[in-house]
């Protein structure tokens, strides 16, 4: 074992190794193994028991590890990590996080990708990456529309609590813009249940008479839907193959973005 003196004498390698070893140790804790003994950690990492104990003892001084000696020297992550995670979450700008992902989706399907959030009873587009095709879905930053219209709005609406949904329905006339047709409350509730069950929404001719869209929810650490990621295109191009590709890309990307926001591993919406 390298001595502390060796580290203090300027062995950068020792310092880095100790930090790397710390990261390796803390990553052994998981939802299925939240409490580990020194022996467990030694077995899992090959790091000597002495080093494991000294590393965890040091982390304990900062509230990053909690050791229960009465339970046989069992360690668990300290609640101080929650503070660091909270800071990390607040650092995240959803637009910056989503932009490279949106570009990748656009490159894969060459259709317009839109990021939207809920603002009261409306959905608002906060970013988009357009298709490079001559005929493509166009949109604007700040474009807004009622939540029950379109795949994006319905994804955002699906995250409302029952009482919030009741309030929304009380305050809204269920009209669909493009055709002037209305949607019944039962039909809307069925659609929202479908979004919750499958993890995405599909809509045709709702925003305008010639568009189609697939949208999936982005959730944060509290399981709340904070944004919707949508691929939208001219309806005439929306073949079965393109629809399947859009569903695959948008749900996978939304799941990845959710995990980046601290949402625990999402259930796969695809069967």
């Amino acid at each position: 074992m390298p001595s502390k003196r060796a580290g203090a004498a300027g062995s950068t390698r020792y310092n880095i190794e100790a930090v790397a070893r710390t990261a390796e140790l803390i990553q052994q804790f998981s939802r299925t193994a939240p409490r580990l003994s020194t022996r467990d950690l030694t077995r899992l990492t090959g790091i000597s028991a002495g080093l494991v104990d000294r590393t965890l003892f040091t982390l304990q001084q900062h509230g990053l590890i909690r050791t229960d000696q009465s339970a046989g020297n069992v360690h668990e992550l300290g609640l101080r990590w929650l503070q660091l995670a909270d800071i990390r979450r607040r650092q995240v700008d959803i637009r910056l996080l989503a932009l490279p992902v949106m570009r990748r989706i656009r490159d894969a399907v060459n259709e317009t990708v839109i990021l939207s959030i809920r603002a009261g009873n409306r959905r608002v587009n906060i970013d988009y990456v357009e298709s490079t095709q001559a005929i493509r879905r166009l949109t604007q930053l700040g474009y807004e529309v009622s939540l029950h219209i379109g795949a994006t709005g319905r994804v955002l609406l699906s995250g409302l609590a029952p009482e919030e949904l009741r309030e929304y329905l009380k305050s809204t006339t269920l009209a669909v813009i493009a055709g002037g047709a209305s949607i019944s409350e039962k039909q809307l509730r069925d659609d929202l249940e479908g979004v919750r069950q499958f993890g995405y929404a599909v809509a045709f001719r709702e925003i305008t008479s010639d568009t189609a869209a697939v949208s999936a929810p982005i959730r944060d650490n509290t399981d709340e839907i904070v944004a919707a990621l949508t691929i939208s295109c001219p309806e005439e191009r929306f073949t079965r193959e393109l629809k399947q590709a859009c569903i695959k890309h948008v749900t996978a990307a939304a799941r990845d973005l959710s995990q980046d926001l601290g949402h625990k591993a999402a259930k796969s919406p695809l069967r």
């Binding site: 100790a18 998981s30 002495g50 020297n73 929650l82």
Partner: protein, 272 residues
Amino acid sequence: MTRSRSKGVSTRQRSAGAPDRHLITAVDRASRVLLAFTQSADFLTLPEVASRAGLSKPTAFRILATLVAKGLAFQNEANGSYGLGSLNLRLAEVILGGISVRESARLAMRRVRNQINETVTLGVRQGDACYYVESLEGRQTIGHSQTIGVALPLHAVPPGCAILASMSDDAVDDYLRHLPASAKSGMAGINKQRLLRQIETIRRQGHAASSGDASGVGHAVAVAIPCAKGGSDASLHISFPKGRFTNDLEQKCIKSLKDAVRTITEMRAVNC
């Protein structure tokens, strides 16, 4: 061989405080680098990290480079500043997964937030401290933001007081005997008699309220979540800016919290 030596370290640490000779300098420094980031200083330049962690710039750089490589920190490509990495989120998820009351509380918390539209926070007891582990913020333009994961002495905040009041008289006495140690973490000058009277009031009313929490700028109302074994190991509270306080809002908060705690208690596993 090594095992028995490691046990010796742990025993000494618990019985006689923190002997420096058992610290690993690089791990200690890395912890200081991580904890240099705060809500109000979430992106830091290298000189800022070095200054806050009390390290030289080259040392801070080497530690940050390792933390970045391991996912505990990241470097902003645009301006070179540092932030905390995604691994912190995964570690938090491990911790939260072990807090059983959280799963039962989530839906109830959302319902309370939707009813009251103010910040709803779940606090848990660990030792003599209350930690906020999850918070749902209200959707108003101005709201109360809670700091997650920081140890707050039980007597210092309404959610902690609510937990304290649910404890037996013996347990409260025991806590009060240890008060000087807790008070060192920021609550000097606590009046024990006043605290005991406060605990009595909380027991009588079933909730704790305070115009001024740890931050001193919010009003908070808290209700303890009972534990099957008796007492309580968690509490739910609503907090909002003092300027929005009205008796009517406070009564609504109390009713909403008590309904939520009833639901959580019903849902909660018998073992807590």
